[in-house]
């Protein structure tokens, strides 16, 4: 018994700050259970959310999880910056510092950015293509619950068993059992693997949804740009995740079952992992940034009241980026020493990506040119993105220059570069999307005034945080450094950088407050088209009914909704009372949520090498798959009377 307890709660889970957080989490859970019980909301939670297969509900669940994870990853970042604020600092123990930079990176990439992207997919794409749902609604719910399972496993690591501590890339041999005992790395491997299954399923789902479920008349070249970038992102996911699956599986087999993939004495090679990881990792960068490019295209066109400039060039540059992204992975480790020929190839392929990206930047600028530009918060993020991403891209080209890279490799220059593109590209884009589609999702706008506070704090904080890090990189400060002596000239830039990080943190608090405030006092969106939008989602009421479109629109041009408005044809979205047909919709299912439970049990058993628990969970997964295949009742009809009532109450019924 004491043995089990020692394994569950090793000393590193009993640091004072973690005990405080632990108590906080327990109290929050007790509070939530109390609220749900006292307001009799358990049934509501189960029926409306946990078993829902509605893409709108799933999108909202992704969104909430992503904001929670942004908080967790952000707190990690602030702790890292606190440790680096002044020289010879020891506010954090060394071990905890290692855990923090590991969880910060992993959470931000896999459990914040990915779900936020999937939130945008779910909340926008079916509307934009004029569809009532995604191709595989139950699989969609499964994807979410597998992500949630991975996120839950990963986040519980610091409370039970100890956090992973080998960096977000987790290279062997540092991740081998001999050098990294304990369960931390097991958490990393299992959590990402399980969430990865969900990501692949999402890739399949949206690929097929976009290819096969578009409204009549919406040809590929009439799709909104966000749909295009989501299409190629889905394809990227399908082709990029398998190498990661293999890399993680090999590490897991080495750690848990004593195989020899990365142990040099038995013929293994750690560089095998590094290659496979980045064979995934570089396309992953584009998985993260391309959806944002799509969001910017929508936002910039809407708020300039102009068609997107150079649509065809945009499509081709997205496809070129997708193709090139598979040929650049070695630039993450030029210092491996593959030789001048190999390095030159990957250096050139890396720099080539700047060309299609440059085309896109110019297209956004030309879209605004002579447009009637408005600047709500969503547009501010798009405007801020352009200079930020250009700096990030230019430093990326510097890193792609092989000779220079030997100097910059794994220095703070690199840290500044990828935060420059990931925050300036991905995060700004997703925040633009959050502000842009919030009224569509919830029926009210986020407060613009508070949004501006959030924007300026976060944007200025960003530059203050990361510009000094470029300088620090040139001065020789390496990444993952625990502390540094005074007198190197590093103290002032580090102090400035930390102040910037806290400014960003303050911005985040304003954002959270703004959500709370707008929920009560935000401007209600009664028209369904608060931004004078161009694409089909704005033809729907906010929030849209369960079946989205009472009548599937027929598309005759790009920017379909804008065209309808120009030609005074907006009445075509209204359905005639006599013509209402029953609509077949997917039925709620408890299997996706039970899958979460089964995978969680499996993952937990694997992490602690308690095989009977893992086998139990694995059998649960198989049993649920079998239960799923025998479940033929996965659709239900919405009665025409219900549709008439809903459309009537929205004032969208003709005759």
């Amino acid at each position: 018994m004491s043995n089990i307890l020692a394994r569950l709660f090793p000393p590193k889970t009993r640091r004072p700050d973690e005990v405080v957080i632990e108590i906080g989490i327990i109290l929050t859970m007790v509070f939530l259970v109390y609220i749900l019980t006292s307001k009799k909301k358990w049934g509501w939670l189960w029926r409306e959310w946990l078993t829902s297969v509605d893409h709108k509900r799933i999108g909202i669940m992704y969104l909430i999880s992503a904001i929670l994870m942004l908080f967790r990853g952000g707190v990690d970042a602030l702790m890292i910056r606190s440790q680096l604020m002044v020289p010879n600092n020891h506010v954090l123990p060394v071990g905890q510092y290692d855990e923090l930079f590991t969880t910060h990176g992993t959470i931000m990439i896999f459990f914040m950015a990915m779900p936020l992207i999937f939130a945008m997919f779910n909340l926008a794409i079916p509307f934009m293509i004029g569809s009532r749902d995604v191709a595989f609604p139950r699989l969609n719910a499964m994807s979410f619950w597998l992500f949630a399972c991975g996120a839950a496993l990963f986040n519980m690591s610091f409370l039970v068993g100890g956090s992973p501590n080998a960096g977000w890339t987790s290279y062997p041999p540092l991740t081998e059992l001999a050098f990294n005992p304990g369960v931390g790395q097991n958490y990393y491997l299992l959590a990402i693997q399980i969430a990865g299954i969900g990501s692949i399923a999402t890739g399949v789902n949206f690929l097929i949804t976009i290819l096969k479920m578009r409204a009549p008349g919406m040809t590929l070249m009439r799709m909104p740009m966000f749909v295009w970038t989501s299409l190629v992102t889905s394809a990227l996911i399908l082709f990029a995740f398998p190498p990661l699956t293999v890399a993680l599986a090999m590490t897991m087999l080495d750690r848990l079952f004593g195989s020899n993939f990365f142990t040099i004495t038995h013929g293994g090679m750690p560089m095998m992992y590094v290659n496979l990881f980045w064979l995934f990792g570089h396309p992953e960068v584009y998985i993260l940034v391309l959806p944002s490019f799509g969001i910017f295209s929508e936002v910039v066109a809407t708020f300039s009241r102009k068609r997107l400039f150079g649509y065809t060039a945009m499509v081709w540059s997205v496809l070129t980026i997708t193709f090139l992204s598979y040929g650049t992975w070695v630039h993450h480790f030029f210092t491996m020493g593959a030789g001048p020929g190999v390095n030159a190839f990957f250096g050139v392929s890396t720099m080539l990506i700047a060309i299609p990206t440059g085309i896109k930047i110019f297209n956004w600028i030309f879209t605004m040119w002579y447009g009637r530009v408005r600047t709500p918060v969503a547009m501010l993020w798009a405007l801020a993105f352009i200079p930020t991403f250009v700096v990030g891209g230019a430093t990326g080209v510097m890193l792609g220059a092989v000779v220079g890279d030997y100097q910059f490799h794994n220095s703070y220059f690199l840290i500044a570069h990828f935060h420059n593109v990931l925050i300036g590209g991905t995060v700004f884009g997703l925040l633009a999307g959050v502000y842009y589609w919030w009224p569509k999702t919830f029926g009210y706008k986020l407060d613009e005034h508070q949004g501006r506070w959030f924007f300026w704090l976060f944007f200025i904080g960003f530059w203050i945080t990361f510009m000094p890090q470029y300088a620090l990189g040139f001065m020789g400060m390496t990444r993952r450094l625990y502390t540094y002596p005074p007198g190197l000239g590093w103290s002032i830039p580090n102090l400035i950088s930390t102040l910037g990080a806290f400014t960003m943190g303050a911005g985040f608090l304003v954002f959270v407050y703004s959500i709370r405030y707008s929920y009560k006092h935000g401007e209600r969106d009664l028209s369904g088209d608060p931004w004078d939008g161009r694409t089909l989602e704005w033809s729907l009421p906010s929030p849209p009914p369960a079946y989205n479109f009472a009548r599937i629109p027929v598309v005759s041009d790009r920017d379909a909704w804008w065209e309808m408005k120009q030609q005074n044809q907006t009445h075509v979205i209204r359905v005639n009372a006599q013509d209402v047909q029953p609509i077949e919709m997917p039925k709620s299912s408890s299997i996706p949520f039970l899958m979460f439970v089964a995978f969680f049990v499996f993952g937990f058993g694997m992490v602690f090498e308690w095989w009977w628990i893992a086998v139990l969970g694995g059998l649960g997964v198989v049993a649920l798959l079998i239960a799923g295949t025998f479940d033929y009742e996965d659709h239900e009809e919405i009665h025409p009377e219900t549709i008439r009532r809903i459309e009537g109450s929205l004032g969208r019924l003709q005759g």
């Binding site: 097929i208 293999v246 090679m269 295949t629």
Partner: protein
């Protein structure tokens, strides 16, 4: 050419599993899944190709480890099962439930013979202490071939659930779609095995 299409000839033009939009979407989705599974195997093949001669200090080489006898039996069993699986789909396309079930059952039996032989081969290796604890080559060998074997095992369980559904529900849009998807999966595993046979066993014996 305004010849009216008879219901009979229409059904031969459009197989039952493609007549419902929902079901035909699922088939396309399954193709996409197969694409990513193919890349999973590609990654494992790449790992194996790099590790196949990295036998560590004392591990056996591929030529010492492999016995072609059982491997050829496995190959014949799996290739034949792919043929019988094709026959099951042929029967299904001609709306013959009994033939579909029989050939699917034969496919399962052949698949089980394949898995049993493979397990037996692995157990033989383990009895000689040629486990993956010994070398990177053995690690990558057991992982690649084992991943294929567990796919086949999964396929057998899947086909068993299909037999029950076919017996209970007959040939409907849904059950034919499921059989067709299973057939895609089964042929896919066959193709992977052809690569394993060539890249792992044949080249291991010859190189």
């Amino acid at each position: 050419m305004n010849v009216p299409i008879e219901p009979e000839s229409q059904s031969t033009q459009m197989p039952l599993e493609f007549t419902s939009e929902h079901e035909s979407l699922k088939i396309l989705g399954f193709w996409a899944f197969l694409a990513t599974d193919f890349l999973l195997f590609s990654s494992l093949f790449a790992v194996y190709a790099v590790y196949q001669f990295r036998v560590g200090m004392s591990g056996p080489t591929p030529a010492q480890l492999f016995h072609l006898g059982p491997v050829i039996f496995e190959t014949v069993a799996l290739l034949t099962s792919s043929f019988t699986c094709g026959l099951a789909v042929y029967e299904m396309r001609h709306h013959r439930l009994k033939g579909t079930i029989i050939w699917l059952a034969v496919t399962i039996v052949l698949g089980a013979a394949f898995v049993a032989t493979e397990i037996n081969e692995f157990l033989g290796d383990i009895a000689l202490h040629d486990t993956w604890h010994r070398s990177a080559f053995l690690s990558s060998f057991f992982t690649l071939v084992g991943t294929h074997g567990s796919h086949v095992t999964f396929g057998i369980i899947w086909a068993l659930t299909l037999l029950i559904q076919l017996a209970g529900r007959g040939l409907t849009q849904v059950t034919t779609r499921k059989v067709y998807m299973f057939a895609l999966y089964w042929h896919f595993l066959d193709i992977i095995w052809v690569f394993i046979f060539t890249v792992v066993y044949l080249s291991g014996k010859i190189l």
